[in-house]
Symmetry: C2
Amino acid sequence: MPLCVVGSVALDSVETPTETRENVLGGSAVFFSYAASFFTTVRLASVVGEDWPPEHTAMLRARGIDTEGLRIVPGGKTFRWRGRYFQNMNDRETLDLQLNVLRDFEPDLPESYRRSKLLFLANGSPVHQLKTLDQCTGASLVVADTMDHYIRTEPDELRQLLKRIDGLVLNDSEAKLLTGDDNLVRAGKTICEMGPQFVVIKKGEHGAMFFGHDETYVLPAYPTPTVVDPTGAGDSFAGGTMGYLAEAATKKGTGPIYAQHPKGGHRPKVGRGKLDLSPFSLDPKTLKLALAYGTLVASFTVEDFSLDRLRKIDRKDIDRRLEEYRRMLSL
Amino acid sequence: MPLCVVGSVALDSVETPTETRENVLGGSAVFFSYAASFFTTVRLASVVGEDWPPEHTAMLRARGIDTEGLRIVPGGKTFRWRGRYFQNMNDRETLDLQLNVLRDFEPDLPESYRRSKLLFLANGSPVHQLKTLDQCTGASLVVADTMDHYIRTEPDELRQLLKRIDGLVLNDSEAKLLTGDDNLVRAGKTICEMGPQFVVIKKGEHGAMFFGHDETYVLPAYPTPTVVDPTGAGDSFAGGTMGYLAEAATKKGTGPIYAQHPKGGHRPKVGRGKLDLSPFSLDPKTLKLALAYGTLVASFTVEDFSLDRLRKIDRKDIDRRLEEYRRMLSL
């Protein structure tokens, strides 16, 4: 089941305490798409400039990522970000940000994208996220990311967005900012009351928290000793999580997921308190496994720059790490 | 199987953003003992002054905590700490610290204490921790806590201590300070190489990490929305963890733990790479369950000031939370 993502495509320059990489492939939609491509086909919508290396497009296509929605602006320049990580590899500063073609990017999804049942609105202006949402009228499950900048500058549009999406993914500091509450458990529940049926709070090296109206899960990060470049970890997490949900929905009726829905078929979308977004099985088991997959894909992402580590692994490597992770958490 | 703890007993004054409590029962040995008392009998060694309210001793005794080693110094004043928590309830500042009788405290354990098989050296000077260790010659499992102050001021004595203990428990920031490494996974492994067979890194609201020579576990904190006073959380965690290990060792031969040691009886203490500290079953299953119990007891501690929340619960409440926690982590 194809998963549609709208977000940024970038050329990143990343400085870590030990190494620097110039103009490597990055951007929220890229990390999300690649992470999701271990599980499902992906439809990527974004914009780049004439300086965009075509081999990146070829590489993404070879992964089953549809790039019909990746617009190339003649004469334009691709979005560029330069950042430096501090010694702790968690905190970073932005040294340079050139929005370029992203500044005037108005989402205009190809027809085939508009019928996607599963939509991820990567980090971006809530105004644009709302416009994208208007185009994807058939989506059963819509999840969005946001960030401090938009929480501060477009609070009203963000509030509108929250009432129209099923899930929100954001960082711990952003959850605190959005709610004014320093307790993440309370913050997660408060955001649920703003509209979405579920909220995922990303805590970087400390893992992630999931909040539904009736349940709370916390999963730790996979303890990798190798942290080379954390860029894209959050987007890979979201990509792995939603990728697995797409896969589970595809398999529904044939795999173990079916057991959760013995009657099969579509079920009406029900109100608050039940995570039933048919045909997506948001039962606790599927959800937690999705979050675990997101966690594990992200644990690979940080082990090298850009997509370098992800490009060296396959689904079996992820499943092997899943078994280890499952063993670690079994009590 | 009695568990011996040597550490501080204090009268704490705690200021949080919403409430203040004056001169409430505190101290590392108190939180540790009470937490452990859900699982085992405890032998508490510390020192207080003449201002010590005797009802505190009575309360601890009623919990099966032996207070023979709690010395009362005539004319002395009990150790006092006053601290203020910031809005985030994680960071705090010490407003006042009066060591009082703790300044000249030289551990001199009662005879019965010296035969304890299980010893916890709560946060204190490595010099004193070493002296205590010299008195407890029969201990099979020795775990110590330490802090930034001693890492800075007594590094050589701490290094000596590390070579003589089985386990070290410390905070994330302390692990980084001790190793000079900001990656906690590497830091944990590095500390293992300094001597102890295992290291537990406490991450407060983010849970705890365990490092043996061959294994790494990460467990998240229980997501409680009620954080009233985090004082004592780390010591309760250690108390719950070691308390359960003592209980498991007691039950050995009768309970499921026995299955891990079909031949029963004592086995020689083996070298690095195997956590075999007979009669303690430090197999992964027992260890993780011990860490989970520590995590859960700590999650109750923070829900009120001092021991107030712990005094309202019993073992059944902890086991109920364990079932919830286990469900949350099952993938």
